[in-house]
């Protein structure tokens, strides 16, 4: 079997593993998932390093140290992660294969771009600003799949089967429903997922994939900060490429090189750009290219001292730029932004959140949604609970289980049930027993705490015409309320509920408090 075939099998395996774990990132009714769904994030050295820097090495999840193995493998063998494992890389290969010819279009110096991006991200993280998630390939991939690609798939497939079902064509439904049942059980999500910004996040992803039509593996060659990090780590790797006697300088290897690591008709090889795909070995008509392990000096990587300094400085300057908003004040927060239970205090939370979308994917009610600029640029795509879309399920702890960086802490159930993510308030102008002399107890009925955080006062009210009746008017026990938002989600005053949750009183904040004790 050729090395290329081995590589393709490996890529296929890891892409399927990625997709399998992605589909498993969903509750089956237990409070555990049964699979290590965030495995690819655990092995991601870019978010590992930037998280350690940004969080000043506090509260680092143990599983994260698995990424040291990728670092070690890269130091020894070069960028095999990029060529053999990365699921986004595999997708790039698949999309790139749709393009017939593959000439190199960009000047070789453009390779350096990804290193400058990496330096910006690293410098910012040294000063506690975590921006890596925006461009980290694994975070990018999970986020795009969670918020856009998978919902699109769900919507399309469900729409198709629902139209067949509703068309009432005899015979057809008997065929389509078992297929639909199988898909629902094994691939589709339990409930149809909907996300704010699905179009935005999805379009960016499509653009990134489409760059392959311009030049194959454009992202990996010129943009990927993880690729850059692994490139730097592979500087002294033992992987070496040799061209023996008989090379005719035909240049095929250079034109086919996935990482753009070859120049001068394939005679010069930059190991930091090599994705270890071994295509050049397989394709060489003279069969003179050989890869082996051993010590051999590699050509130095010249990124330009001035450019490196500029990119580091840009990263540092990004910190005050991004943070010069009112959100940096401790007495200011977006009141409607409810963070998931177990989320660290806002500043600490943002230092860790890599916007991978795992928590939003796993959220059992679909209530966790990506923010846009509600908490400033730093919070872009971080999770917020929107109870009207989905409340926080009282006995569920899944979001804390799938967070790779500890931005949302993994809490035992007993502890999670006590975490306040905010407090509910009643809009007496809309609440039926207050404003409209009409009985309603839904908020109290669904309140999950014991004793309930909603209690009633029996109150005589008069309807039109003076007819008196006694209604139960709800009150909120602020000590008991945890802000889960099920009251807001189920309130019959539909479009703008008469009870709603804001983040005041959230356990994670010292300043955003209401009560004396």
């Amino acid at each position: 079997m050729s090395k290329k075939t081995c590589r393709k099998i490996s890529q296929g395996f890891f892409l399927l593993l990625f997709l399998f774990l992605f589909v498993q990132t969903e509750s089956r009714g237990n409070d555990t998932l049964g699979y290590p769904v965030k495995l690819f994030l655990d092995f991601d050295p870019l978010i590992f390093i930037t998280t350690i820097l940004a969080s000043q090495a506090q509260k680092i999840p143990v599983a994260f140290f698995l990424s040291l193995s990728v670092i070690l493998a890269t130091v020894l063998l070069g960028r095999i992660f990029c060529g053999w494992i990365c699921p986004l890389g595999a997708l790039h290969n698949i999309v790139g294969s749709l393009k017939k010819s593959h000439p190199r279009k960009m000047h070789a110096d453009w390779h350096k771009t990804k290193y400058y991006i990496l330096f910006i991200l690293l410098a910012a993280s040294v000063f506690t600003l975590q921006l890596a998630g925006f461009m980290d390939p694994i975070s990018l991939l999970i986020r795009s799949f969670s918020l856009s690609i998978f919902p699109l798939l769900n919507h399309g497939i469900r729409g198709l089967f629902d139209s067949i079902y509703n068309a009432h064509i005899p015979g057809i439904v008997d065929l389509s429903e078992p297929v639909y049942g199988f898909l629902k059980k094994n691939i589709l999500s339990f409930r149809e997922p909907y996300y704010l910004q699905a179009v935005f996040v999805g379009s960016l992803f499509v653009v990134i994939l489409s760059l392959n039509f311009f030049e194959r593996r454009f992202w990996c060659k010129y943009l990927c900060p993880l690729g850059a990090l692994l490139g730097l780590l592979s500087r002294f790797s033992l992987l070496k490429r040799e061209v023996s006697e008989g090379c005719t300088s035909c240049g095929i290897c250079e034109s086919r090189c996935q990482g753009g690591a070859l120049s001068e008709k394939g005679e010069t090889w930059k190991n930091t750009e090599c994705l270890a795909c071994f295509d050049c070995d397989d394709i060489c008509p003279q069969n003179v290219v050989n890869f082996s392990l051993g010590r051999k000096p590699h050509p130095s990587v010249n990124l330009g001292r001035r450019q490196v300094i500029i990119s580091l400085a840009s990263g540092i300057l990004t910190v005050p730029l991004v943070r010069s908003t009112p959100f940096s004040r401790s007495d200011f927060s977006a009141p409607g932004v409810l963070r998931p239970p177990g989320a660290l205090e806002e500043k600490e939370f943002l230092k860790r959140c890599v916007k991978c979308g795992e928590c939003m994917k796993v959220c059992i009610t679909n209530g966790l949604q990506p923010t846009f600029l509600e908490t400033g640029f730093e919070g872009l795509w971080s999770p917020r609970l929107i109870p009207r879309i989905g409340y926080c399920e009282y006995r569920c702890t899944l979001c804390g289980q799938v967070c790779p960086t500890g931005a949302i802490q993994r809490l035992p159930l007993e502890e999670k049930m006590k975490v306040k993510i905010g407090l509910a308030m009643i809009d007496k102008g809309r609440c039926l027993p207050y404003a409209h002399a009409t009985a309603c107890i839904v908020c109290e009925e669904v309140c999950p705490t014991s004793p309930k955080a909603i209690w009633f006062e029996e109150f005589p009210v008069k309807g039109r015409g003076g007819k008196e009746l006694i209604v139960k008017q709800p009150h909120i026990d602020l000590d008991r309320c945890i802000g889960c938002g099920i009251c807001e989600a189920k309130c019959p005053v539909g479009n703008r509920p008469a009870i709603y949750v804001t983040n005041i009183g959230e356990s994670r904040s010292k300043t955003n408090q209401l009560l004396l004790l």
Binding site: G29, Y165, C396, C440, E444, E445, S450, K452, F456
Partner: protein, 302 residues
């Protein structure tokens, strides 16, 4: 069940008993000669499934209600993400015992479902019901929103409402509620259990809860009602949470008149049927009998 209907059943059952003798005990109930309106079985320390089986046997056995080839819907309360010990959902062993009795009686298919309040996956799993009955061969399915169909009700309050097709198409329906506290209707038992087959924004019916629930009973007619009072939730209902609010009664109430069953159920909490708006509304609408003195109740110690 109407009195006339009851007499009819008694006559049929009596006839069956005679025939049964001829065929050497084809129909088994031991004291089937005596018919009751309701059986209350209590079995301290006995398993819920033993108590359930004893109650149904004393009520004439499952064959009295289920015929060979029937498609049966069993409607437990699976509304909440709670464990059996917390007594917010119907007891899984009670539900499983009924499923088994249905299959033993020749049911072709037994369906179990509920439109839950909390996430369905969690409710089905955490209640223990999905695991308990799917292993017996019952079809446990999550609610499929497409299967709600607008049904004309012509009730006092509800003129029509989307109801679940599987209930409407079933040959036989068995209502299996749990007896527990509720903030508005005081208690929730059999009649209120039908909220679990209502589609749409069902929360609105709380505005006229008694009449609305009685209206649903005009179109949904269970063959049998089995009230689970193995554990009852005495306060902080309908979902409870604290084990301190749970009282163990080891009791199962079986009847065909769900208003009567609820009226009896109220006594387990020290209340009367007339304290419950839906029992009063149900009795007034002729769905069943609220006055327990008019009902022949067999109390059974298992």
């Amino acid at each position: 069940m109407k009195r006339r209907e009851f007499l009819k059943y008694t006559a049929i059952a009596g006839y069956g008993l005679v025939i049964g003798h001829k065929f050497g005990g084809l129909i088994t109930p031991a004291d089937a000669a005596e018919r009751y309106d309701m059986v209350v079985a209590r079995g301290a320390g006995k398993t819920p499934s033993v108590i359930t089986k004893a109650a149904i046997d004393a009520f004439g056995g499952m064959k009295r209600f289920i015929s060979r080839g029937d498609i049966v819907v069993i409607k437990p309360n699976i509304g909440w993400d709670r464990t059996p010990e917390q007594a917010a959902n119907s007891n899984p062993e009670v539900v499983a015992a009924i499923v088994k009795l249905c299959f033993d009686a020749g049911a072709k298919k037994v369906k179990v479902f509920d439109r839950t309040v909390n996430d369905p996956r969690r409710c089905y799993k955490q209640s223990g019901i999905a695991d308990a009955v799917s292993s017996l061969g019952a079809e446990v399915s999550y609610i499929d929103e497409r299967r709600f169909k607008d049904v004309s009700i012509k009730g006092q309050v509800l003129k029509s409402w989307p109801l679940y097709t599987d209930i409407l198409e079933a040959d036989k329906i068995i209502n299996v509620p749990i007896a527990k506290h509720h903030g508005l209707s005081k208690l929730t038992m059999s009649v209120k259990n039908w909220m679990g087959i209502m589609g749409g924004q069902r929360g609105r019916i709380h505005q006229k809860i008694g009449e609305s629930l009685a209206d649903i009973c005009l179109v949904v007619k269970p063959s049998l009602t089995v009230l689970d009072a193995v554990r009852i939730l005495t306060t902080n209902g309908p979902q409870g949470g604290s084990l301190a609010d749970v009282k163990r009664l080891d009791t199962v109430v079986v009847g065909t008149d769900q208003v009567g069953v609820d009226s009896y159920g109220a006594t387990l909490f020290g209340m009367k049927g007339s304290d419950l708006s839906y029992v009063k509304a149900g009795a007034a609408a002729g769905i069943g009998i609220m006055d327990l003195s008019r009902l022949k109740i067999k109390k059974l110690n298992v």
